[in-house]
């Protein structure tokens, strides 16, 4: 979900995704390369994101990933579900 959210703004390469997640979480989530690329492989195989080789600003080749239509739908769904769950947990914690 976090990777999808990152890509919702603009297409990005692997390093960009990890930096963006770190920034947005203010350093709470620091992704290990293995977990990050495993997640990317899975999302790509599920057709939620699509990869394309492009050159970076430093004229280096990197694979840029962008969100597909299906990925956008999944992101919307998961975000809704997540908010629902967080709200429920919060209510439970407040009740006690």
């Amino acid at each position: 979900m976090l990777v999808l959210k990152t890509l919702a703004l603009e297409p990005m390469h692997g390093y960009g995704i990890s930096v963006r997640i770190e920034q947005m979480s203010r350093g709470v989530f620091r992704l290990n390369a293995g977990s990050l690329f495993l997640a990317i492989q899975r999302l790509e195989r599920d057709g939620l994101i699509a990869g394309e080789w492009k050159s970076t600003e430093n004229s280096r080749r990197a694979k840029y990933y962008s969100l597909t239509e299906k990925g956008q739908k999944r992101l919307n769904n998961e975000t809704r579900e997540w908010s629902k769950r967080v709200a429920a947990i919060a209510r439970i914690l407040e009740a006690s």
Partner: protein, 320 residues
């Protein structure tokens, strides 16, 4: 769709392994390089920056391993590797290989032949509707011979009267059929033909005998309870084997045969795989109703209706 894509991606990494590896490698190197450059910008030396990145984000090789093992194809890949390794090891020690292969071959062969035998003798021998529901009444496994029989020690042969009593008063069975305890040879000739009389094995059976086995006639019909009553028309059923030996002549059905000098009308032919109630080398070629015994002055079975005569019983349990 996503399943198809998944399969396609897996196949691609299996069959275009080098390309996929190169791509992954390039992607991860770029990732590492970008992270390192970021550190250098912050004032670290290149060496320190690389070390730092490896510590923070893991090495490229470790990441590759994780990504590789994430797809379903890695399982297949591992299996192939294991098989290749196994074959290599087997080639290294041919003596062991030969012993193992021979042991397996003999084992499989022996098991197969024993099962074939078991299947033919025990499972296939009675080609009847539901063999599992058949029960033979009696204490000893004796059905078709009298020698050394003693009713005091074993309870295997019953008189016709006792059979009738059992049949009429036992609730637990769908059918209770009986057949003759001995296996006589009948002298047979088709009526009105000048052929020589020939002898064939036969058997007297109760009217519900074929109903109990649940077998169906190849041609004509099999015996029913109405055929097995005193005074009923004399009818008989011929075995498929004998019918076939005589050219499967359709005119046999309805024809009259003299069996031990009494005329019997052949009403039907048994199914090809039915060889009677017992496995034996001379299966019956003629099945006659038990009550028809009285029609045959010369037959042993002529006194089947006498209280002291014996018949074997075979029963089928009630279907649930």
């Amino acid at each position: 769709m996503s399943l198809l894509r998944n399969v396609a991606a897996g196949l691609r990494s299996l069959f275009q392994r080098e390309q996929v590896e190169r791509d992954l490698d390039e992607e991860l190197r770029a990732y590492q390089e970008m992270a390192t450059e970021e550190k250098i910008k912050q004032g670290m030396s290149r060496k320190d920056a690389l070390r730092e990145v490896r510590l923070e984000r893991g090495s490229v090789d470790a990441a590759k391993e994780v990504v590789r093992s994430g797809g379903w194809e890695s399982f297949l890949d591992t299996c192939c590797q294991d098989i290749r390794y196994g074959l290599r090891m087997l080639r290294k020690s041919p003596g062991f290989t030969i012993v193992v292969v021979l042991t397996l071959a003999l084992g499989i062969g022996a098991t197969t032949s024993i099962f074939t035998l078991f299947y033919d003798v025990l499972l296939k021998s009675l080609s009847v509707a539901s063999p599992a529901e058949l029960y033979r009444l009696g204490k000893e496994s004796r059905c078709c011979y009298w020698g050394g029989y003693s009713q005091e020690n074993e309870f295997s042969l019953v008189s016709y009267d006792l059979y009738e009593h059992f049949r009429n008063h036992t609730q637990g069975f769908v059918e209770l059929a009986a057949f003759q305890a001995s296996d006589p040879l009948f002298s047979v000739r088709r009526s009105g033909r000048p052929d020589a009389v020939q002898s064939y094995p036969g058997e007297f059976v109760s009217g519900n005998y074929f109903t109990m086995f649940g077998v169906r006639a190849t041609a004509g019909r099999l015996l029913t309870s109405t055929d097995d009553r005193p005074g009923a028309p004399a009818v008989a059923v011929m075995s498929y084997r004998l019918w076939q030996q005589n050219g499967s002549d359709p005119s046999v059905i309805g024809a009259v045969f003299d069996i031990d000098s009494a005329p019997f009308t052949i009403v039907g032919i048994t199914p090809p795989s039915f060889f009677g109630d017992t496995l034996r080398s001379n299966p019956p070629d003629f099945f006659l109703p038990l009550n028809a015994g009285t029609l045959m002055p010369l037959a042993d079975a002529g006194d089947l209706n006498q209280p002291d005569s014996d018949a074997s019983g075979l029963a089928q349990t009630r279907r649930q």
